[in-house]
């Protein structure tokens, strides 16, 4: 009885020790640098404030109105939507197509896989500069290709029409490997027996892919769609070295718009309003994702 009591007690004290040692540092850091700045952004969005002195100039929803009527905001929204749509209809199918060819484990295939994944690991700033060179109208690869075909290609990054397609190509280059890896991991977890059985039934390769493999990796596709949408909304680091949002603010995404018109001009209220809207969009997308996930789980 006594023994049991001590064990019980030591268990209890050990539990409180672990909880006081292991949780507070993480939670403090997380709250202080992640949660509380987000709450602050929400508060700032109702004030006109430059970050110095007292925050007293309450302006209600004026900042939101300013953002929504800002003449470059609609461009930023349009561009972010372009990034999302192209990511979904070009990047993800490409990643899946490649993943289907790279599922097996062999030396050559792993090497190709690593190569395709490489751009994802490179810093956005470095990737952006590399592609700035590729697109450079005097020294880059694009004009050289144009010369080969006798065409005079424009400075793509300085052209309002070409700048977004050019950025999209970089986005696909940089991120398709990430989605490919997600698909490969999911494809590899499909049981070999299922595929073998289908094959013995005389079902062809493409039918197996379309009717068996793709339905079986549906949850991986869903998470990759989710990452793709959230990532597209938050695209910034690539834009900065590529175009800085130009020419004449035509290639801003929501975050580069936030940087240009909120951060560099120290307009905290304006920036806060953009942050809040962006955050809301992310929350909505997450809720949709979770709903879709639940629907699919109950379906199975």
């Amino acid at each position: 009885m006594n023994v049991l009591k001590t064990i019980g007690r030591s268990k209890f004290s050990s539990r409180s020790v672990v909880l006081t040692l292991f949780l507070p540092p993480t939670l403090l850091l997380f709250f202080w640098f992640v949660v509380s700045p987000m709450i602050d952004a929400g508060r700032f969005s109702f004030y006109d404030w430059n970050g110095y002195g007292q925050m007293t100039d309450f302006v209600g929803l004026d900042n939101y109105a300013d953002v929504l009527t800002h003449r470059h905001f609609s461009t930023a929204i349009r561009n972010s939507i372009i990034v999302i749509v192209i990511s979904l209809i070009v990047q993800l199918p490409l990643a899946l197509w490649v993943a289907l060819a790279l599922t097996e484990k062999s030396w050559t295939i792993s090497a190709i896989r690593v190569l395709f994944f490489l751009p994802f690991m490179l810093a956005e700033v470095a990737s952006g500069l590399i592609w700035r060179f590729v697109y450079d109208g005097n020294y880059g690869l694009v004009p050289a290709v144009g010369d080969m075909f006798g065409a005079d290609l424009p400075f793509v990054l300085g052209d309002r029409l070409w700048v977004m397609p050019a950025i999209m190509l970089v986005v696909v280059w940089k991120y398709f490997g990430f989605h490919m890896m997600i698909y490969i991991a999911a494809l590899q977890s499909i049981s070999k027996e299922v595929i073998e059985a289908a094959r013995l039934d005389g079902i062809g390769k493409w039918k197996i892919i379309w009717h068996i493999k793709i339905p079986l990796i549906r949850s991986a596709i869903m998470i990759s769609v989710f990452f793709s949408v959230i990532g597209s909304l938050q695209l910034f680091d690539l834009i900065f070295p590529l175009t800085g949002g130009g020419p004449s603010h035509s290639s801003h995404t929501v975050v580069s718009f936030l940087y240009q018109f909120g951060i560099t001009r120290q307009k905290l209220g304006f920036g806060g309003a953009v942050s809040v809207m962006l955050f809301m969009a992310c929350v909505v997308i997450t809720l949709l994702y979770q709903r879709a996930l639940k629907a699919q789980e109950s379906h199975e």
């Binding site: 060179f133 990430f178 955050f279």
Partner: protein, 283 residues
């Protein structure tokens, strides 16, 4: 052996010619910009204009030597390295402790707290960068590496805790209970039983935290003022600003800065893949 080989053969044949062609094209798409960058550093400006794709007329290493003879590059890389290592250390220690408590210690409000932590996956530093800037300013942590380390660690915590949590859940509860019956408290169980079992996941979390920190641009951009404290992404943007259209020099600089990252990636890629498959998919 021969059977195995034969199997592999038929499997490779599974990739249709059309697929090989597309793999080849995608390969070119991936490699050409990188290759042109590496070769461009050896060229002269005039040569680059006429022949941006091909090999240089002479392998003149002057650009590389010039950049490396200036100590700035090494200072930048050293700054980035120190920040990255500190971030990795803090992130691994804090997130593994928290994930252990989440996975094996029952307490009131646990599942709520877990959800709360995972909300962090939705906050990119970019959206809250202004208030974050003010936070660091009020703490006197502007223009300091410590400020960057703390903020970066905080933003990496959600993903790191997620990875550790997924891993720790798989450790059988009986093992933890048995250790505790031997009068090991939770803390000692964590140190002597759980951590030694967790080396692969520690590597994965460490690699992710390292890459995130090494590549980070926005946070150093808004917080650092002193050029001696700059990290390499800031340095490269500054270098590009200084040398404008001298592309061969910029390309040499790019080659020198991304080479360590590529070497590191090749060495660590299996941990990255493990993280993506273990964390992203099951999570």
């Amino acid at each position: 052996m021969s059977i195995k080989k034969h199997k592999n053969l038929t499997r490779t044949n599974d990739i249709s010619p059309m697929q090989w062609v597309s793999l080849f094209l995608v390969g070119i798409f991936v490699v050409i910009p990188l290759l042109a960058t590496a070769l461009g550093g050896f060229k002269t400006t005039g040569e680059l204009r006429k022949n941006p794709f091909g090999t240089p007329a002479s392998w003149n290493p002057m650009n590389f030597i010039e950049i490396m003879s200036d100590s700035t590059l090494f200072l930048l890389l050293l700054n980035s390295l120190l920040i990255a290592i500190s971030t990795v250390f803090l992130s691994v220690v804090l997130s593994s402790m928290t994930a252990f408590a989440f996975a094996h210690v029952k307490f009131y409000g646990r599942s709520l707290l877990i959800r709360f932590m995972f909300l962090g996956l939705l906050f990119p530093a970019a959206t809250a960068i202004l208030p974050l800037f003010l936070k660091l300013r009020d703490l006197g942590l502007l223009d300091s590496h410590l400020g960057i380390i703390l903020a970066q660690t905080a933003f990496s915590l959600s993903f790191s805790v997620l990875l550790f949590h997924n891993f720790f859940k798989e450790i059988p509860n009986e093992l933890i209970e048995a250790a505790r019956m031997d009068n090991c408290g939770y803390v000692r169980t964590y140190i002597y039983i759980v951590l030694p079992l967790s080396l692969p996941i520690i590597a994965t979390v460490g690699v992710f935290a390292f890459v995130g920190s090494w590549n980070n641009f926005l946070l150093p951009l808004v917080t650092l003022n002193t050029p001696e404290k700059y990290t390499w992404p800031l340095g490269i943007m500054q270098f590009r600003g200084e040398f404008g259209a001298d592309w061969p020099k910029i390309l040499a600089y790019l080659t020198l800065t991304i080479t360590p990252a590529i070497v590191f990636f090749l060495a660590a890629q299996r941990y990255i893949v493990a993280g993506l498959t273990g964390g992203a998919i099951k999570g």
